[in-house]
């Protein structure tokens, strides 16, 4: 059994969280609220240091242009006062505008043009045929919404739906993998690092 106080703290907290599986209880709720408090504090701490390093210190060193984002950041908090809520829309609008432009810049080439280029494959193998037809079919269903039509478009859309189901099935399989991967180290920690029963 471990003598490290850190390991004991972590192990007991792990057991407190697992107690939820038996029944909702006060111990779990206490631990849950501690977790939320610490998470929020950690995020606030990191944000504080970022504001200080990227805003306040350069401003004090002479970069006066940073007054704009610093004032904008303070204006974000005006949403808590009903009369001044509209002021928070200014920095929000700026953030959304720049983010929208970044999204457009990135999506057009990487997620649109290059993906279409990658679909232009020679139809010399079954895999290539499936890739080309499958991608076109998925776009037909997803984008053009032809699911209710009959004829070639309707069949293509239906095939596209099947391809999406295959993709979602693969995603589900990977999700299960991820969830199990989260559990394994916790079990190993409790029975190995804490209790010393597993190597």
């Amino acid at each position: 059994m471990s003598r490290d106080p850190g390991v004991w703290v972590a192990a007991l907290l792990t057991l407190a969280v697992w107690s939820y599986l038996i029944k909702q209880n006060l111990v779990f709720q206490v631990v849950e609220h501690v977790f939320i408090g610490i998470s929020a504090a950690h995020a606030m701490t990191m944000a504080y240091f970022t504001i200080r390093a990227k805003g306040v210190q350069p401003l004090l060193a002479g970069d006066v242009s940073l007054l704009f984002p610093l004032i904008g950041g303070v204006l974000l908090y005006s949403r808590f006062l009903p009369k001044t809520t509209w002021l928070s829309r200014i920095p929000l609008g700026f953030t959304m505008g720049t983010a929208a432009a970044v999204v457009i810049r990135g999506s057009v080439d990487a997620s649109f043009v290059k993906q279409i280029q990658a679909t232009m494959l020679p139809l010399t193998s079954l895999d290539n045929v499936l890739m080309v037809v499958g991608t076109i079919a998925t776009v037909t269903y997803f984008l053009f919404n032809l699911k209710s039509r009959s004829g070639v478009g309707g069949y293509l859309a239906r095939f596209g739906r099947y391809m999406m189901m295959a993709a979602f099935g693969a995603a589900y399989g990977n999700t299960v993998m991820m969830r199990m991967s989260l559990l394994i180290p916790r079990v190993r920690f409790v029975f190995g690092d804490w209790l010393g029963l597993v190597k």
Binding site: F49, V102, M131, A170, N174, M178, I184
Partner: protein
């Protein structure tokens, strides 16, 4: 199906099973292989091999950006990948710039380097630099891609980054040989959209849930390598001959997956038995239009 008719009464009992029995079965499927490893085989996949060869082909002293874009909620898959890749990079004396897009990133970077720096003789400033949290995700990545020296001015302790020996020759992001993003969300896609067009090769150390979304980029060649989940970490440990936590967890992963598949089969059998007992076929609440998941009995901790 005569065999199903014979077994129907048993399957019906499973229809209303307490969730806690399911939890116990999952717990045991994970615990038992840890006590007694089975030694199930693992072969190295093509994706992992490509990532390995790319890293192995780097020149000595290559400039690499490491980006831990994950949280403790998902570090179980990604940290083994990060450690396996880090050992490989440090064996090639790569100069590392840690770029942190999550609030936990710098803590992981510090922990990883502290655990390996003595073994590989690495010194802070000379061989690696850790930058602080950079919020904004996609906007932050765009900022790094446009002007990395303007976006990352100081390190975690407030010292100027670009005065340090590890990154002293850098003028733009294109000077970096490789970028490795360890992610459980969309950050890798943002890197592919903003940084990869500048000529920087990108490898993803992705959690299992992100892998399907990155496959189109792998297929198009935009993503140079992909490690997927704990399996990817285990494969990289095998191919780089640096066994770690990932390899040890694969037996438990195998048995837990088998348990899930068994639950799916049992659940459908139980449902079929219960439905036919109630005298109607299950045609679905939406007249068969939506043929996806059925949401009849919500699980959770209730009986």
């Amino acid at each position: 199906m005569a065999w199903f008719e014979r077994l129907k009464p048993r399957f019906e009992r499973f229809d209303k099973i307490d969730s806690r029995y399911i939890y116990l079965a999952v717990f045991l499927s994970v615990l038992l292989p840890l006590f007694r490893p089975i030694g199930l085989p693992i072969t190295v996949g093509e994706q992992t091999r490509e990532a390995f060869l790319l890293v192995d082909g780097l020149p000595q002293g290559a400039l690499v950006i490491m980006s831990p874009s994950f949280a403790p909620s998902s570090d179980a898959e990604v940290v083994p990948q990060m450690m396996a890749l880090l050992k490989h990079l440090m064996s090639k004396n790569a100069k590392l710039l840690w770029v942190n897009l999550t609030v936990e990133g710098s803590m992981y970077a510090t922990r990883a380097m502290d655990s390996l720096k003595d073994e590989f003789g690495y010194e802070y400033g000379r061989d690696y630099v850790i930058t602080p949290y950079l919020p904004g995700q996609q906007t932050a990545i765009a900022s790094i891609a446009s002007d990395i020296k303007g976006a990352l001015t100081v390190d975690v302790s407030g010292k100027p980054v670009w005065d340090m020996e590890a990154v002293s020759g850098v003028s733009s992001i294109s000077d970096f040989d490789l970028l490795i993003d360890f992610n459980t969300g969309d950050t890798c896609i943002y890197y592919l959209q903003q940084v990869q067009p500048k000529g920087v090769r990108v490898i993803a150390g992705a959690s299992g849930v992100t892998v399907p979304y990155l496959m189109p980029y792998l297929g198009s060649g935009q993503l140079a390598g992909l490690l997927g989940g704990l399996r990817g970490a285990a494969e990289y440990e095998m191919v780089s001959k640096t066994p770690g936590l990932a390899l040890g967890g694969m037996d438990a992963q195998s048995l837990s997956h088998a348990a899930i598949v068994l639950f799916i089969i049992l659940g459908n059998a139980a449902n079929l038995a219960a439905k036919s007992r109630r005298g109607r076929l299950d045609t679905g609440a939406d007249n068969g239009e939506n043929q996806g998941f059925g949401y009849e009995n919500q699980g959770g901790t209730s009986k």
